[in-house]
């Protein structure tokens, strides 16, 4: 377990030689020992396509590599921090909400449109959450940020969960997502209930939802 909870808004990580941690730049609160913070040149492992993708999506959450020997404390903006342990499964998380994760995890940037087709593109445009979501696979811990903490809602086959795109934090497991509209066009234009678009998640897994409609 790489991350230790200090309080609901701060975590600490033990850094030992040979094991690196990646974290959002500027999210280090304090450290002891000899630790270096190196900005990631490629902003991920996706190569050129990832760079372009990030630009298109206007995602600007660059990462840094934390290495050395010591203890580092992480937190960001007074937001709640939630640690998720991955045991060989996959977590999809909005890049803005990724605080830190263990270097043992495989990281890639996922094009949401792969699953949602045209609607996936629309979703990115509508929610302003970008077309690309960070995908983490393997064994290790991930720390995500949420406004007001998260609740974990399980997803079972045949029982999809609908989520407000603004409140969506992350999801894990074998889950497909699509943007759904619960309303007719009339409701979407001008006199909607504020719930015109919903993210429908179906399959087997779990979704993390924050207690706020405020996007980070």
């Amino acid at each position: 377990m790489a991350f230790t909870r200090i309080n609901n808004k701060m975590i600490s990580a033990q850094i030992v030689p040979g094991q690196r941690i990646l974290s959002q730049r500027g999210s280090m609160l304090g450290y002891t020992g000899e630790v270096t913070f190196q900005p990631n040149l490629m902003g991920g492992q996706g190569g050129v396509m990832s760079m372009i993708g990030r630009r298109v999506a206007n995602e600007d959450t660059p990462l840094m590599t934390v290495e050395g020997h010591g203890t580092v404390m992480f937190g960001h903006g007074g937001h709640h921090v939630h640690v998720i342990d991955l045991v060989g499964d996959t977590l999809y998380v909005e890049a803005d909400r990724l605080l830190a994760f263990e270097g043992s995890l495989q990281q890639s940037t996922m094009f949401m449109g792969q699953q949602g087709g045209l609607m996936g593109v629309v979703r990115g445009q509508v929610t302003g959450q970008g077309l690309f979501t960070t995908k983490l696979t393997g064994k290790g811990a991930v720390a995500v940020l949420a406004h007001g903490g998260v609740i974990e809602l399980p997803i079972f086959p045949g029982q999809p969960v609908h989520v407000d795109p603004q409140a969506y934090v992350a999801h894990r497991g074998e889950v497909t997502n699509k943007l759904s509209s619960a309303l007719g066009w009339r409701d979407m234009v001008g006199r909607g209930s504020g719930e015109a678009f919903q993210l429908e998640l179906s399959g087997q897994g779990a979704v993390y939802v924050q207690a706020s409609e405020v996007k980070l």
């Binding site: 309080n7 500027g26 609160l29 900005p39 660059p62 937190g75 007074g78």
Partner: protein, 330 residues
């Protein structure tokens, strides 16, 4: 003095006003202590993924009023002048002062009170004498008010966590925006570190933090924005770390900004013995102006009002050189 305080014994027969315990109450004897209410409040603050409490029907409130139902189904705590804690936290975000005399507070932090009290600006007329005694700082006195009278006074600040600290012939330095209130037995001085205030003497003060305060011991390097304050240890020094700017790649980085800075080039380094207070924050509470130090040779920052610098001076904009990094999506 413990949190949570005991529920009121008699729901309606509260003590008449004026029969509270005498002031000052018995504070903890230790020279420097933070009130430990965290164990109990962690339980309710713990992550939101706890299983939902079993549904329970709410009992009708006293005198037929509806009651707020907290998570867990416990009966909600109702306070009045007699049962409110004396100089202790009501919950992690609200502090109750047992006022009998005077107390200094930052403007606008009173949320409610019982009893007879008045609030006056500092720095006028009869209060000048008090000001001389307690404000040994070119502080903008208009940011502070003095509460005078008798009763229970509730303080809060944007639902930030509040902690009270007891100083016994000690000193503690705190970020100016985080200091909420202090007893008149303490003296307030401006720290040599811009934007910080030092409290000296014996007494209690209340400070806010974004998230609970985390105490660490030196040696440690702290992000400037996560620093709430420090006690007993020597004032911090600046620490710069930009070793990755050396070499060919580093030079390219330096010129173009591609790859950016890690955002962690600059820390405050603490050494020696003492305590460092940290919070989880990159978004600071608005700093209170601490006034202008008279222009004088040898005085750091003299002549300019000290507002908080927003990060690493000099190096802060390195990663955004020409905003190239962002435009290329790096």
């Amino acid at each position: 003095m413990s949190y949570p305080p005991q529920p009121p014994q008699s729901p309606y027969g509260q003590q008449p006003y004026g029969q509270q315990p005498p002031y000052p109450p018995q504070g903890p004897p230790s020279g420097y202590s933070q009130h430990q209410y965290e164990q109990s409040h962690q339980a309710t603050q713990a992550g939101m993924h706890v299983p939902p409490p079993p549904y329970q029907a709410s009992p009708a409130g006293q005198f037929g009023a509806p009651v707020f139902q907290p998570p867990g189904g416990d009966a909600p705590q109702v306070w009045d002048a007699g049962t409110l804690p004396a100089d202790d936290n009501v919950n992690p975000y609200c502090f109750s002062v047992d006022l009998n005399g005077a107390y200094y507070l930052q403007k606008g932090k009173m949320i409610a009170y019982y009893g007879e009290m008045r609030f006056s600006g500092i720095g006028r007329g009869v209060l000048d004498r008090v000001l001389e005694q307690n404000f040994n700082s070119p502080l903008h006195a208009s940011d502070w008010v003095v509460a005078e009278g008798r009763g229970k006074l509730l303080l809060a600040d944007r639902s930030y966590d509040l902690n009270s600290y007891d100083l016994e012939d000690g000193n503690l330095t705190v970020r100016s925006g985080n200091l909420l209130a202090f007893e008149p037995t303490l003296r307030l001085k401006q720290s040599i570190i811009p934007g910080f205030l030092t409290l000296i003497g014996t007494g209690k003060f209340v400070a806010a933090s974004n998230g609970p305060v985390h105490f660490v011991e030196p040696p440690i390097r702290v992000d400037p924005q996560a620093l709430v304050g420090w006690a007993d240890c020597p004032a911090p020094c600046h620490h710069y770390d930009h070793s990755y700017l050396h070499g060919v790649i580093g030079g390219l980085r330096h010129l173009t900004g591609i790859g950016g800075a890690s955002g962690e080039e600059h820390q405050f380094e603490f050494i020696g013995a003492g305590q460092v207070l940290m919070q989880s924050s990159e978004t600071l509470m608005a700093d209170r102006s601490v006034g202008v130090v008279a222009a004088e040779a040898g005085v750091p920052g003299a002549g300019v009002p000290h507002q908080q610098h927003g990060g690493a001076p000099g190096l802060g904009n390195l990663g955004n050189l020409g905003d190239l990094g962002r435009r290329f999506g790096l």
